[in-house]
């Protein structure tokens, strides 16, 4: 017994714990500054200046917003089911954070004679894990909407659930085409293949487009923000929420955006690969650790571009009508994804 405990790689445990801590804080930090970025992008696209009072360029605005949310009164409606009411935002936040576990943030660092992998868990079913967690994300919306005991919230919850179920199908089908090319479900393997050959967006442009549209829908971002349509449902599922519980919902949306950007970058845009450079030869020249840092920078640059794209679309396109949303999902995206899957399969078979 004693010996088995000693034989356990304690450094690995420490390494992973530190990595989890870093990734969670970074996701929260990024989510914080996404709120600032969102307001800035919105302002610039509408010829305004955006927040510019708190700190230079409004850089402290997220702190002020967070403080405001913390200071607000915490209201739990009397007719709500209290346990579920509290569970909802927690679940939304949990699922948003969990997805980042399988994303490879960089190749590895070489420190203290160890190779420290920059991925919390390199599970061989990484994509399935992401799908599982993402489809759990709808429970945050569902439970929140249900527990509020409010007709608008319930409507929003139903809308959110049906939307996510519809778009998950197309998303899954578009991923299958990618998996037929990669032959692996592990995100690290997929990135390494892209490093060796080409970015998968080049061979799967249609698949990427479908995945992108579905990612918008999964994140509940405009034009798919049916479940929190301000003008129709008065905020939707988080109508009854106040204080930091509301903050959790809003935050979860931004964390979701960050993680789905990371997943898109990983699956289709080479992940942590530095574009136009052979990472392995670069590592021989300047060492593994600087390359690992550059890879993180490269991945984050891709993520930030995607996040900007999310915001750009949000401030350009109006919301879909509900029947248009369903029509787009079932009549357009799923047949397109099926066609993409069949075509990819045929080509893979033909090339042997």
């Amino acid at each position: 017994m004693h010996l088995t405990l000693l034989a356990f790689d304690w450094a690995l445990l420490l390494e992973k714990a530190v990595l989890i801590l870093i990734i969670i804080s970074v996701s929260l930090l990024v989510a914080m500054y996404e709120t600032w970025g969102e307001r800035k992008v919105a302002a610039f696209m509408q010829d305004r200046r955006g927040p510019n009072r708190a700190g230079p360029g409004g850089i402290l605005q997220p702190l002020a917003d967070g403080l405001k949310l913390f200071m607000k009164e915490e209201i739990v409606p009397l007719s709500s089911s209290r346990f579920l009411f509290v569970l909802g935002p927690g679940l939304a936040m949990l699922t948003a954070m969990m997805t980042s576990a399988v994303v490879p943030w960089s190749s590895h660092f070489h420190l203290w004679g160890r190779d420290i992998s920059m991925q919390i868990a390199d599970v061989n079913i990484g994509i399935l894990y992401i799908f599982g967690v993402v489809s759990m994300g709808v429970y945050g919306i569902m439970i929140g909407g249900w527990a509020s005991n409010n007709k608008f919230s319930l409507l929003a919850a139903i809308r959110g659930a049906s939307q996510i179920i519809s778009y998950e199908l197309a998303m899954g089908l578009s991923i299958i085409a990618l998996l037929m090319i990669s032959g692996s479900l592990s995100l690290r393997t997929i990135v390494e293949q892209q490093q060796a050959h080409y970015y998968y967006v080049l061979v799967q442009p249609l698949g990427f487009l479908i995945f992108l549209i579905c990612a918008f829908a999964e994140c509940n971002r405009t034009p798919f923000d049916l479940s929190e349509a301000e003008s129709e449902l008065n905020m939707g599922y988080h109508l009854e929420y106040s204080s930091m519980k509301l903050g959790f919902y809003l935050f979860a949306e931004y964390v979701n955006m960050f993680v789905s950007s990371a997943v898109m970058a990983t699956l289709y845009w080479g992940g942590y690969d530095i574009p136009f450079v052979n990472d392995a030869t670069l590592a021989q020249h300047i060492g593994q650790n600087p390359v690992a840092i550059l890879q993180i920078v490269s991945l984050f640059a891709k993520i930030i571009i995607f996040i900007f794209f999310f915001m750009w679309v949000r401030w350009t396109i109006p919301r879909f009508r509900y029947d248009q949303l369903m029509k787009l999902g079932w009549h357009v995206l799923i047949p397109l994804a099926l066609f993409n899957m069949l075509a990819t399969g045929a080509i893979v078979l033909w090339r042997g």
């Binding site: 992008v41 610039f44 696209m45 509408q46 010829d47 305004r48 200046r49 510019n52 750009w312 679309v313 401030w315 350009t316 396109i317």
Partner: protein
């Protein structure tokens, strides 16, 4: 039917073409428009740091004027109060005592002079009515206040600083006018 105006336009109810049904070209067009707006000049003026210049004919808060020797010009004739359509001005006259010649220009002066800025419509008729050039409207507007009482401006708020003892403040209050 004859259209009522020359601007009438029939609503186009043709079914969408394949190109329009694809949505993506239209979305790309819209996104290029919003992206273009990112680099446009922002019309916003950062207010407390930067202020837009007022027009020289702007009618703002009232100022009770002094002459070059720093004496109050107002003689409490009451013409401004009569001219005022909003009945915002009230005053009480008093007689100048011997030894006060350096304070008041005329033999009679306003002991109390109040303008209710909530009633005032900033029409400038008081300025026009004044035979002594004692009141004019400046280029500042009334700041906000917590009470109604705060909007009743007395002589201490209205009087321009003394040009003899406080020349700098006087120049600032006088602004671009006269």
């Amino acid at each position: 039917m004859q259209p009522l105006t020359s601007r009438a336009k029939a609503v186009d109810r043709k079914p969408m073409t394949m190109w329009e049904k694809m949505y993506l070209p239209a979305i790309a067009k819209g996104m290029s428009i919003t992206f273009g707006h990112m680099f446009k000049k922002k019309p916003t003026v950062n207010y407390p740091e930067k202020q837009r210049p007022f027009s020289p004919v702007f009618r703002g808060l009232h100022v009770l004027n002094r002459d070059e020797q720093g004496r109050e010009r107002c003689t409490a004739c009451g013409l401004c109060a009569v001219a005022c359509p909003a009945e915002a001005i009230t005053m009480e006259a008093a007689e100048r005592l011997p030894g006060e010649e350096n304070l008041y220009r005329e033999e009679k002066y306003a002991a109390k002079y109040e303008i209710n800025m909530l009633r005032c419509i900033f029409c400038g008729l008081c300025e026009e009515a004044c035979p002594k050039d004692a009141i004019y409207l400046s280029e500042t507007f009334a700041p906000s206040n917590y009470t109604r009482k705060g909007f009743i401006y007395g002589k201490d708020e209205l009087l321009i600083p003394d040009p003899v003892t406080q020349p700098e403040e006087y120049a600032k209050a006088k602004g671009q006018r006269h």
